[in-house]
Symmetry: C2
Subunit: 196 residues, 2 copies
C-alpha cells in the first residue's frame, strides 16, 4: 500500500516520531473522516505558502513584518536576542516583556558548522547601530553553545554604547532543591537576594 507507506515515511521524519508512532498516527488518521486528513493538508500548504521570516527580527511572520515588529506599543529601546523563533513565544508567555526581539536563527556550534555568518549577526548590528536600542537582553539557552553565543554577541556589542544584560540564573519556580544541578545552585547562591 504505497500511499499509506509514504505517509508513514513522511511522518517518521519528524523529530521524536519513530516508525511505530508514525504508523499509529497514520492508522489514527485513517480511522477519522477523510476531511481530517484534507484539513491537515490544507493547513500545511497554507503555512508553507504564507509564513516567511520577518525582515526586522527574523521571527516567523505571515505578513510583511511580524505582529511584534508591527506593534507600535512595543518598546523599541529594549532588544531581546533569542536563538530560535520558538523562544519568542516562550518569552511572550511570561507577559512581562514589552520590548522587541531579534531571532539569531541558531547558536554558534563549530561542530555543526554554524559560525557567525550562519546567524543573523548582521541584522543585529544593524538594529543596534540604528540607535534606538539602549539595552540588549541575551536570552540564549543556558547550554554550552547558548553561552558561547551569548559571549560572542556580548563582545560584538562592546563599544556600541548599549547596555547588555542576561537572563538571571537560579532556581526554577516550583522546582525541588533535591533535583537542581550543582551549577544552577551555585548560580542561585552567588546571585542570592537579601530578604528585606
Amino acid at each position: 500500500m504505497a500511499a499509506i507507506e509514504d505517509l508513514v515515511g513522511e511522518l517518521s521524519k519528524l523529530p521524536g516520531i519513530g516508525r511505530k508512532t508514525a504508523q499509529r498516527l497514520t492508522y489514527h488518521l485513517l480511522q477519522q473522516p477523510r476531511e481530517r486528513m484534507n484539513r491537515l493538508a490544507r493547513v500545511l500548504d497554507t503555512v508553507a505558502e504564507r509564513v516567511a521570516s520577518c525582515p526586522e527580527c527574523g521571527n516567523f511572520c505571515e505578513g510583511e513584518r511580524c505582529a511584534i515588529c508591527s506593534d507600535s506599543r512595543r518598546d523599541g529601546s529594549v532588544l531581546c536576542v533569542v536563538e530560535e523563533a520558538s523562544a519568542v513565544g516562550q518569552v511572550e508567555r511570561s507577559t512581562t516583556y514589552k520590548g522587541r526581539y531579534l531571532v539569531l536563527g541558531g547558536r554558534l556550534s563549530p561542530l555543526e558548522g554554524v559560525g557567525p555568518e550562519q546567524l543573523r549577526i548582521g541584522l543585529l548590528r544593524h538594529r543596534v547601530g540604528a540607535g534606538e536600542v539602549r539595552e540588549v537582553i541575551l536570552a540564549t539557552n543556558p547550554s554550552l553553545e547558548g553561552e558561547a553565543t551569548a559571549t560572542f554577541v556580548h563582545q560584538l556589542l562592546a563599544g556600541m554604547g548599549v547596555r547588555v544584560s542576561r537572563l538571571a540564573r537560579g532556581l526554577p519556580v516550583g522546582g525541588d532543591l533535591e533535583y537542581i544541578d550543582g551549577v544552577t545552585l551555585s548560580h542561585a547562591l552567588e546571585a542570592r537576594q537579601e530578604v528585606p
Copy 2:
C-alpha cells in the same frame, strides 16, 4: 499568526501529541525547506483520496481489493480475525502466517456503544459460510474487550463446521520473569510444553 496556530491546533488533535509537541513539530517543519510541508500535504491528500476499505476483509486498500486478498498464493482455508487493520501489519511481520484476514473494525465494548452491528460480523459470517475457510484464528487483543470479542465470535461460529483457534498466551520472547504479570504466568504454566 493564524496559519501557524492552525497547524499547531491540527497536530495537537493527533493521539499522543499535546500542545507542546505540536508546537515543536510546527517549528521543526518551519525550519525545513517549504517543500517538506507541501510533500506531507500531498501524501495526506493522496491517502485521503485513495485509501478505502477492502470489501473482502475490511483492511485498508488502495485498489479494489487489498494486496493480501488479491494475492492468489495466500491460503484461503485459514482466516485470521483481528480487531483493527493495524494488527494485519503486526501479524504479517511475523512472516509465518500465509492465510487470509478479516478485520472486525473494533472490539465489543458496551461502554463505548460498540455492539456486534458496529463490527464486520456479517462479513465474517459470509466469508465462513462461503465454505472455503476451514480454520478461524482469533487474534483479538489480550484485553478484557478483546477476550469478550473472541468469545462472541467463537459462539457465533459454533456449528458452522470450522475449527476455531486462538493465539497462544505465554511469556513474550525477550521478556523478564520479574516483570510478567500473574495472569500471563498462569497461562504460561498451564500451557507448559514438555522438553523433548
